[in-house]
Amino acid sequence: MALNRTDVEKIAHLARLQIDENDVPEYAKNLSNILDLISQMQDIDTSDVEPLAHPLDAVQRLRADIITEQNQREHLQQAAPAVENGLFLVPKVIE
């Protein structure tokens, strides 16, 4: 499975990753090698095999519907790059 420049640029866009143009060939090569490694799976017939999502096939626990969290907005927003009046600031989204 060989990925070309367009493939890498498309995947990087989907993942919202800026990749330096000069690095694209190296990513294409390494990602293609990784996909070759992964393609070994396709030789195995798994048509009757149930996918395993959790090793112990556990299900989600339920809990009582009561409030357990306290409002820690100011405390948690100390780690934010930019806040104002309790809101996270980002570049303008709507023109």
Partner: protein
């Protein structure tokens, strides 16, 4: 007082040979003097350590000490630690001061242990050599030209260099066991769900599991006593009683049934490692165990299955790093998309970007069945192999790694070659089973690890099996020259 095991230090504290503050000071001084050679710590928490040590001494004086009170521990920098930078080895979180404690940290604090600092690691735990860390690679104290393994490489290097008596690690595909093998340590990856993942920065949520890294099985048992247990804050942690893991360490091994999977002794295995592992198994026979060959036919498929499941989950987990709520944000973004792309492009290192892209590709429209679902089906086959074998034997043994610690830079140019390093460890994470690595000999001056695999929640048995070996042999007591 340094160079003792955790159990030895606990005794020294109990008998008043030294105080917790003296102990913490001695370790902090040694870190200051020696860590430039190993780069095993990202952050040393001197002030916190001395505060906790003073509190431990006070609680001992008041008659409230437990076995862990005043014992210094280093924590992998993947466990969120309130008021302390928690970087996950990434530029993305270089400025992140955690506003809360991971459950594992909270439990060690509650037990009275002393946090020496946060250890170096592969970025977001993605690596087998510690070379993907934003803070530069940690080095193997047995030979500083060699890697300590990864991703918990800083934890391993710190213990091997005598800069911490024990440390926490996390294991998604071998990240506790492989560095333990490379640095002559005892490392335990518990059953998936045994230890809370709350506050443990996520890489691949269905595989990640925290565990102890220590000098002996006894020390690992002491630590697991603190770490294990159900946590309402982690919905995948398992509701199941936690035994005292130190209680049955000395149980006799007569009648223990050991399985040796023939696939673990394949052509890719270094012949010296094969010989040392077989010699360790002979030692177990002398302790009363019986041995038979078993087969785990889907072992080779664990590498491709892992490199779908882990990157797919990583691409989802790491989408939270967007420059909005915490962590790195690029300079002067022109619009929202520019901010996302440059923040992530600049904040993540190459290996992390590679795995995010593999995962994004595998989860993109039209590929789900061919990749993620297929990998989950292969996971089932791998699990069924283990379940079948573990109905016939008590434990499975084999090598932890195909080679001893490799040189820095030796495998960085080819990610696939690096991925093959984890061929013997990945399958356990895919199946969710517990496993250990313990020292079993030396090859050209570098340590070799024996891997011991048990059934679900068989940590107590694994620790017993490891401890009895350590009573009969002294590989685990070997230290790097000059230490």
């Amino acid at each position: 007082m340094l160079n003792k095991t955790l159990a030895g230090l606990a005794k020294g504290l109990q008998q008043g040979e030294f105080s917790s503050v003296e102990l913490a000071q001695a370790y902090l001084q040694r870190i200051k003097n020696e860590d430039s050679k190993y780069n095993s710590f990202i952050t040393v928490t001197e002030e916190l350590a001395l505060q906790q040590a003073a509190a431990a001494d006070a609680s001992r004086a008041a008659g409230n000490a437990s076995i862990m009170t005043g014992l210094p521990i280093a924590h992998k920098d993947i466990f969120c630690t309130q008021g302390v930078r928690t970087s996950a080895g990434s530029k993305m979180l270089d400025n992140f001061i955690s506003p809360y404690d991971a459950t594992v940290i909270r439990k060690f604090n509650a037990a009275g242990s002393v946090t020496l600092g946060k250890t170096n690691m592969d970025e977001f735990a993605m690596g087998s050599s510690n070379e993907s860390s934003f803070y530069g690679p940690s080095r193997n104290p047995w030979n500083t030209q060699h890697v300590p393994g990864g991703s918990s490489g800083g934890s391993a290097a710190a213990i091997a260099a005598g800069l911490a008596p024990a440390a926490t690690g996390t294991d998604t595909g071998g990240s506790i066991r492989q560095p333990a093998a490379f640095c002559n340590l005892t490392g335990l990856k518990p059953t998936y769900g045994r230890v809370s993942r709350y506050g443990m920065i996520a890489y691949a949520s269905s595989l990640d599991q925290g565990g102890p890294m220590a000098q002996t099985a006894e020390d690992a048992a002491m630590m697991l006593n603190v770490m294990a247990g159900m946590d309402p804050l982690d919905s995948t942690s398992v509701e199941r009683a936690v035994p005292d893991y130190t209680a049955n360490l000395d149980a006799p091994l007569a009648g223990l049934k050991i399985g040796l999977p023939k696939e673990f002794f394949s052509a890719s295995l270094n012949p010296e490692i094969a010989a040392l592992v077989r010699a360790a198994v002979t030692e177990y026979e002398a302790l009363g165990a019986t041995v038979k060959e078993v087969s785990l036919p889907n072992t080779a498929l664990s590498v491709p299955a892992y490199y779908i499941v882990a990157p797919a989950e990583a691409s989802s987990n790491l989408s939270r790093f967007d420059g909005v709520r915490y962590g790195y944000r690029c300079e002067d973004p022109t619009d929202l998309e520019d901010m996302y792309k440059r923040t992530r492009g600049e904040g993540f290192g190459t290996e992390v970007k590679r795995r995010i892209m593999v995962g994004t590709y595998a989860l993109s429209e039209g590929f789900y069945d061919a990749y993620y679902k297929k990998a989950q089906q292969i996971r089932r086959l791998i699990q069924q192999d283990f379940v079948r074998v573990l109905s016939e034997v008590d434990v499975i043994m084999g090598p932890t790694t195909p080679t001893p610690a490799f040189k820095l830079g030796e495998k960085t140019s080819d990610p696939v070659e690096m991925y093959m390093e984890d061929i013997f460890t990945l399958s356990l994470n895919l199946a969710g089973l517990p496993g250990m690595s313990i020292p079993c000999g030396m090859s050209n001056g570098l340590p070799v690890g024996l891997q011991i695999i048990g059934n679900y929640f068989a940590e107590e048995k694994l620790l017993n099996v490891a401890h009895k070996f350590q009573q009969a042999t002294d590989w685990h007591t070997l230290k790097p020259a000059g230490l």
